[in-house]
């Protein structure tokens, strides 16, 4: 199932909230699992079965790892098996071979459960933590299934360790304030995704697929649009996940910073998809425990190489990850994270680096990346540029401003002003309703919402 869908917002969510809050506290976890299973199954039976089988496998593997804890070799062997199963499933279902399958009874695209990449990290992390004696294996199937299949973070994370999930699951009594806060966050995330990320992504897709020629300026605007679209989509889904979890009385960690304007690549690595980066730093980078500068840099490169492959299992994504890792190493060596002398220049340089490298993440192969850069030949604006700017200027301006996070500062500054306090409640409600109606208009008119990255 998708969050950005008519049936989820107006059927599933109100009914699920009512059922959950009417349930006595003791049964809330079972009911939440039931709700998550319905959410899962409505997205496609086969895809749901993939996740259910993997969850059952994680449960069994966790118990077995707990049993084999003293025997390092056997538990290591089992852990390798767990990693191979998760990575194998991820690679197989993401492969062009499966994705391109279009039969009468089966469609390759329908086999891939959205969010499998996040799901795999949680499963592997859970088993690794048991092997490393950080947690005890969960014997209650309901708890483990709920941890793995909790529907607000099923689509786009965030990745939560089992220990953190146990701490954050504290069902509370019904509170309209809590639901209001959660829904507000949900609508903001939905708007980021539908109203801004989708048109910006389409702008970039239009440039890539078009036969028309664009100027250097427009090609860079396209890259900036794609980077912004990715940030808005992923952070939008994170907002929706956090908002939904709040509605149900759970707390999820924040995965994204408040702004997509990063002064350094290090700052980007610390705030963009934070929970995933932390996972890889912990489980991959953490293996290189040393004080040597060279080994630390190797750890960064290995971590970011794996992150690149996690986004897409392609050579270009691996190169993207290593490129980001290299930027981080260089910035560390130059002390860029400590002293930012020229903030504007730093911001521009970082945007330039991130925009240039984002092509490696979103285009299928190196020849397409090369083609994009080779097209940077015209320095004067073409008709195609003007058309794109004329038709998409609003999405571009609003999207960039929203991603800058500047609006948060403005609201913060005026929040103690008397005139604002007077109108804050009606103004916020009005703004949320307008955003919701705009989202409904998009849902009514557009076809299926697609994800920019297959995660």
């Amino acid at each position: 199932m998708q969050f950005a869908s008519f049936s989820f917002i107006f059927l599933f969510l109100p009914v699920a909230l009512a059922v959950y809050h009417l349930t006595p506290a003791r049964q809330k976890h079972s009911v939440m699992l039931g709700i998550s299973l319905i959410f899962l199954l409505s997205g496609g039976f086969v895809a749901a079965m993939v996740l259910l089988l993997l969850t059952a496998f994680t449960y069994g593997a966790g118990l077995l790892l707990g049993h084999l804890q003293p025997r390092r070799f056997l538990s290591g062997l089992l852990m390798t098996g767990v990693i191979l199963i998760f990575l194998g499933t991820l690679l197989l279902l993401r492969s062009d071979w499966v994705q391109g399958t279009e039969g009468k009874f089966i469609s390759g695209r329908g086999l891939y459960p959205v969010g499998l990449a996040f799901f795999a990290l949680q499963g592997m992390g859970y088993c690794a933590d048991i092997r490393n004696k950080k947690i005890m294996p969960e014997r209650r199937p309901v708890w483990l299934f709920l941890y793995m299949l909790f529907f607000p973070r099923l689509l786009m994370g965030p990745v939560v360790s089992y220990r953190s999930a146990q701490r954050s699951s504290c069902p509370v009594s019904f509170s309209m304030e809590q639901i209001g806060g959660g829904m507000m966050r949900f609508v903001i995330g939905l708007s980021k995704n539908l109203l801004l990320a989708q048109p910006l992504a389409l702008l970039f897709d239009g440039i890539v697929q078009a036969e028309a020629s664009y100027s250097v300026f427009m090609l860079w605007v396209g890259l900036l649009a794609k980077l912004t679209a990715l940030f808005l989509e992923l952070s939008g889904y994170s907002d929706m996940a956090v908002g939904l979890a709040i509605c149900f009385g759970f707390r999820l960690p924040e995965s994204y910073g408040k702004s997509a304007l990063f002064p350094t690549v290090i700052r980007f690595s610390e705030t963009f998809n934070r929970t995933v980066v932390q996972w890889f730093s912990h489980y991959v980078g953490g293996k290189f425990r040393t004080r040597s500068m060279l080994t630390r840099n190797l750890a960064v490169l290995a971590t970011w190489g794996c992150i690149g492959l996690w986004y897409q299992f392609r050579l270009t994504s691996l190169i993207w990850g290593i490129f980001i890792g290299l930027c981080i190493c260089v910035e560390h060596a130059a002390g860029a994270n400590k002293h930012i002398r020229y903030p504007v220049a730093h911001h521009i340089l970082t945007i330039f680096l991130l925009c240039g490298s984002i092509l490696l993440l979103v285009l299928p192969d190196l020849s397409s990346v090369g083609m994009y850069f080779r097209n940077m030949q015209h320095f004067t604006l073409t008709d195609s540029d003007l058309y794109l700017l004329r038709s998409d200027w609003l999405a571009l301006v609003v999207g960039l401003y929203a991603a800058s996070g500047n609006w948060r500062k403005i609201i913060q500054n005026i929040s103690d002003k008397l005139w604002f306090r007077r109108i804050q409640a009606p103004l916020t409600v009005l703004a949320i309703i307008v955003l919701l109606l705009a989202c409904i208009a998009v849902l009514m008119t557009e076809d299926t919402m697609t994800f920019q990255l297959m995660l």
Binding site: S5, A212, V429, I440
Partner: protein
């Protein structure tokens, strides 16, 4: 009183203020979701539209099916679609969904044709020709954007289908005759050859192509003067439904009647459930969701037309819906026309009819239909 109200706002901490905002939001959104949800369910339940069958695989998403149904049956559907189109146009855009909005017409954004699938289709048609050895003609109709791209604002990237169609024609075995539609229609772009609110061509557009096609099929075309043209009404097609843009003039349903004296004696449609029903050339369009079904009526597997012409010439026409308005011209030349709908035929061609009974075969579809080789694979399969 005013002093008290001021003081109340001043006394609240930002946290308290935030709590009030969230509480108000909670109440309003709860009511909004519930009302919307309730109305959606009620209208969805009482809607006559069937669940769309876009995806019937085991991997299909139930939610996608439900969403399609709910959005289509929603009482606010038209309001939101119209509002979005108006908003797009007012902020300088002209693409609503997949439809370009211009002053004089709506244009579908042309699909980039899949060359591999086109090659597959040409292979299937060539194999069918080799097997049947019956004279065959192929007509691939390009999209309207091919002819009216100049009406779009400068800089719009509009992929051309011409090269792909030429490649498709080249791949066909040489004895198969290919009719070049592009050059025929390009000279008539000032005339009413394509619908303004539908992606398909008009009767006049079809006549222009008929004039050329029928020569290659060995007949002299009936001149335009011999047809009496009457207007049966107006309609707004599928492009209008997709964006609900009102400022474009509706299309006209034309009836072409020839004074040659040749009349239809029998017209029988075989439906997908195996039943047969009698049809007429023109049907009141109010009865159908697609106004273009004015020509030949609703979807069928096969339609057989017998005319009063005393000749041995029989035509097997493999077509999609765009060919429907061309039939009034063909009945002047054939004693029997068997029309098989490539997109909707549930049975293979061999089970529907025996191709060897016909003296000529014409394959007339949109370029998009030729690029969907699965339809042709299904049609030419050996049988259940």
């Amino acid at each position: 009183m005013k002093v008290k109200r001021l003081a109340r706002h001043l006394l609240r901490s930002p946290e308290q203020q935030q709590r009030i905002v969230q509480q108000t939001n909670g109440f309003v959104l709860w009511i909004l979701f519930a009302v919307f949800g309730l109305l959606t369910v009620v209208t969805g339940l009482f809607s006559h539209s069937r669940l769309p069958a876009k995806d019937r695989t085991v991997t299909a998403s139930v939610q996608q099916l439900l969403d399609d149904h709910l959005t289509e049956s929603s009482v606010w559907h038209s309001f939101f679609v119209r509002a979005k189109t108006d908003w797009t146009v007012s902020v300088g855009g002209n693409l609503s969904g997949n439809v370009y909005v211009t002053k004089s017409r709506l244009l579908e954004h042309p699909e980039i044709l899949n060359r591999e699938k086109l090659k597959e289709t040409s292979g299937l048609l060539s194999a069918f020709y080799r097997e049947s050895q019956i004279p065959m003609c192929v007509i691939a109709v390009p999209s309207a954007a091919e002819f009216y791209a100049s009406e779009l604002p400068g800089g719009v990237s509009c992929p051309s289908q011409t090269e792909d169609i030429e490649m498709f024609y080249r791949e066909l075995t040489s004895p198969i005759r290919k009719i070049d539609v592009y050059h025929v229609l390009f000279t008539a772009t000032d005339d009413y050859i394509y619908c303004r609110t539908d992606p398909r061509w008009t009767c006049y557009g079809a006549y222009c192509v008929y004039r050329n096609a029928i020569r290659k099929m060995g007949f002299a075309p009936i001149s335009y003067d011999q047809f009496a043209v009457t207007h049966a009404g107006t309609f707004r097609g599928s492009l209008y439904d997709a964006c609900l843009y009102e400022d474009v003039t509706p299309d006209i349903l034309d009836i072409y009647t020839c004074d040659s004296g040749i009349v239809i004696q029998e017209m029988t449609a075989q439906l997908s459930d195996g039943t047969e029903e009698s049809r007429s050339m023109y049907t009141a369009s109010e009865e159908y969701a697609d106004p273009y079904e004015f020509y030949l009526g609703a979807e069928y597997d096969m339609l057989t037309i017998r005319t009063s012409l005393d000749s041995q010439k029989k035509l097997l026409l493999l077509e999609d819906s765009s060919a429907d308005c061309m039939i009034p011209f063909f009945i002047q030349h054939y004693s029997e026309i068997c029309i098989v709908d490539v997109e909707n035929a549930s049975l293979p061609l061999k089970e529907l009819t025996d191709p060897s009974d016909y003296s000529q075969i014409l394959v007339l579809c949109d370029a998009d239909t030729f690029a969907d080789s699965d339809s042709f694979t299904d049609l030419f399969r050996d049988g259940e």
